[in-house]
């Protein structure tokens, strides 16, 4: 394995009596699409939040491109190349699609401490936002307020906001949540197109999507990494069967879970 892009060692996070992240170690190779699966409450989102920087771990280290980022604030991690999307859609609800994306482009390109020059004069910013609109499949919907979009469109914009920051590591928290079959297919296609260059950590319950997209899979149960390996290895892992899928294993791994 080449030098990992992200290297997590012995990460720990405790909420009162609950160990939400229990001695987690994880390596992501550059360009890899790594899926993180596990039952509800396993600590997937908690782990994601610690990688993104909105939650401070109690112990352990996080290295990104060889640099320790455990103490870096979230917005600085974004600048370093780590972006996340949310399981529960989190947009600028009263702004339209174009302005949502323009904000994320603005945050990435240059300073936000420009007090006098009108932002509307920055053609490049809106060109890039426009390209993103097309990329996430929302062409023609630029002027629609985010809260007026359909659920599927909102999920696309959710991922689009993270993409606008041009991440080298993209943390996706259940991007298919609540999507119909057609929208799921579109989301899978969008994530597949990221393969050229972007490293992705994908938290997802949709097993079809996971096994289709992931090069490697880690299984998180009760805050611990139970197993980590290729889709085939995870499929055949007896421990994973028992802990995660129990009786429904065959059904869960061969057809749509929902």
């Amino acid at each position: 394995m080449p030098e990992p892009l992200l290297s997590v060692r012995a990460l720990q996070k405790r909420f009162g009596g609950v160990l939400a992240t229990d001695d987690v170690s994880l390596d992501l190779a550059p360009g890899e699409l790594h899926a993180l699966i596990g039952p509800n409450g396993a600590g997937k989102t908690t782990l994601l939040a610690q990688l993104a920087g909105s939650l401070k771990p109690d112990a352990g280290s996080i290295a990104f491109e060889g640099r320790d980022i455990a103490e870096l604030a979230q917005h600085r991690r974004v600048a370093a190349g780590i972006a996340r999307s949310y399981q529960i859609t989190s947009l600028f609800a009263r702004l339209n699609v174009r302005d949502n994306l323009a904000l994320a482009v603005q945050a990435r390109s240059g300073s936000s401490f420009v007090f006098w020059r009108p932002r509307s004069a920055e053609a490049g910013l809106f060109e890039e936002a426009g390209a993103l609109v097309a990329r996430i499949g929302l062409a023609g919907r630029e002027g629609v307020r985010a809260d007026a979009l359909s659920h599927g469109e909102q999920r696309a914009l959710e991922v689009g906001l993270a993409l606008a920051t041009r991440p080298r590591l993209l943390l996706l928290d259940e991007p298919m949540a609540g999507l119909g079959p057609e929208e799921t297919a579109r989301m899978i296609a969008l994530i597949e197109r990221l393969r050229d260059g972007t490293t992705v950590l994908l938290v997802e319950h949709d097993m079809d999507a996971v096994f289709r997209l992931a090069a490697r899979i880690s299984v998180l149960v009760n805050g611990r990494v139970l197993a980590s390996g290729s889709p085939e290895a995870i499929r055949g892992n007896a421990q994973v069967r028992r802990a995660y899928l129990g009786e429904d294993l065959a059904a869960g791994f061969t057809s749509d879970q929902r």
Binding site: A83, A93, F113, T165
Partner: protein
């Protein structure tokens, strides 16, 4: 439908504001020129709060701290023999900005009710400080022998000249606000107001942007305070009292939270209403409530209630909701 150009309304307002004191002087109502200056100063103070509260979404209940600091700095400098407004007013802004920087750096680590309470607490601390310092006149305050000098042959002691200087400063502040909210900074600050979590997640420097917004609002509030002290030729601790913060907040809510003209409309409406009730006998109102003039704040309360219920976006939003 034929829509007027956006600048037409602004030009009409400007023409009215320029003509008003001339008309008042011609009509022998010089007192009302001074009153109009006071309204413009409060409009500036409310506009500065609107940047923080309306655009920045920071419900600061301590804006009087910055207005009061500006008023005291300008007054103390004049007392110390510094006559030039070119020194006194920038100094008032600088001190207010410094106080905003220090208090903001602490209070902006809190959210919601805690932020409201901590900003209130800081302002009240200054209020008690001003009350207790003898050199600042204690609770009696300071009387100024005259207004500062501006040079260029402008006599600020002349009510007409003072009015136009205040009007020019308010116009400059409104133009600056217009530029700032249209620039990257304004978009960032509004984004943080709309969704702080996401703003941080797309890489916006949430804390620093908020603090910068708080400091700019504080500095502009300091200028309003300096003008207020010069206008009254007097300052006392009441300028720092929490009711002053409350009045400014009412103006912003009444005028339009996060609207360019919100602070101006709120100040004109609130002070205009108070003046109207105090100076003119309104027949039908007197028939119903013989002593209504002694209860102007009750009337203001009714108007505020009506505004929140029927024009939740403020006076500025009223018009906007029709042609939006």
């Amino acid at each position: 439908m034929l829509k007027p150009k956006p600048w037409v309304g602004t030009a009409l307002v400007a023409a009215f504001a320029i003509a008003l004191p001339l008309a008042l002087r011609a009509g022998g109502q010089v007192f009302y020129i001074s009153f109009a200056s006071q309204v413009l100063i409060y409009a500036l103070a409310a506009t500065s709060l609107n940047l923080v509260l309306g655009y920045g979404g920071m419900v600061s209940f301590g804006h009087a701290a910055f207005v009061g600091a500006g008023a005291y700095v300008a007054s103390l400098l004049l007392h110390a023999g510094v006559e030039s407004a070119w020194i006194a007013w920038p100094a008032a802004m600088a001190v207010a900005a410094a106080i905003a920087l220090a208090t903001g750096a602490i209070s902006l680590r809190t959210r919601g009710v805690y932020f409201i309470m901590i900003t209130l607490a800081f302002a009240q601390m200054l209020f008690y400080l001003a009350n207790s310092i003898k050199a600042w006149g204690g609770d009696e305050g300071l009387t100024l022998a005259r207004r500062p000098s501006l040079g260029f042959g402008i006599d600020l002691g002349d009510e007409l000249a003072f009015y136009y200087v205040v009007l020019a400063l308010l116009a400059a502040a409104l133009y600056a606000l217009h530029r700032v909210v249209g620039a990257r900074f304004g978009h960032a600050v509004v984004a943080i107001r709309e969704n702080e979590t996401r703003a941080e997640a797309i890489g916006l420097p949430v804390f620093r942007a908020r603090l910068a917004c708080f400091v700019i609002g504080g500095a502009a509030g300091g200028l309003a305070g300096a003008l207020l002290a010069c206008h009254d030729k007097y300052v006392n601790p009441n300028v720092l009292h929490w009711t002053q913060s409350g009045t400014l907040m009412i103006m912003v809510i009444l005028g339009g939270v996060g609207r360019l003209w919100g602070g101006v409309l709120g100040a004109v409406a609130l002070l205009g209403l108070e003046r109207l009730l105090a100076d003119f006998r309104i027949g039908w109102l007197a028939a119903l409530f013989p002593n209504y003039a002694q209860h102007t704040s009750l009337a203001v309360g009714v108007v505020l209630l009506a505004a929140v219920l029927f024009a939740p976006r403020g006076l500025a939003g009223w018009r906007g909701s029709h042609n939006a």
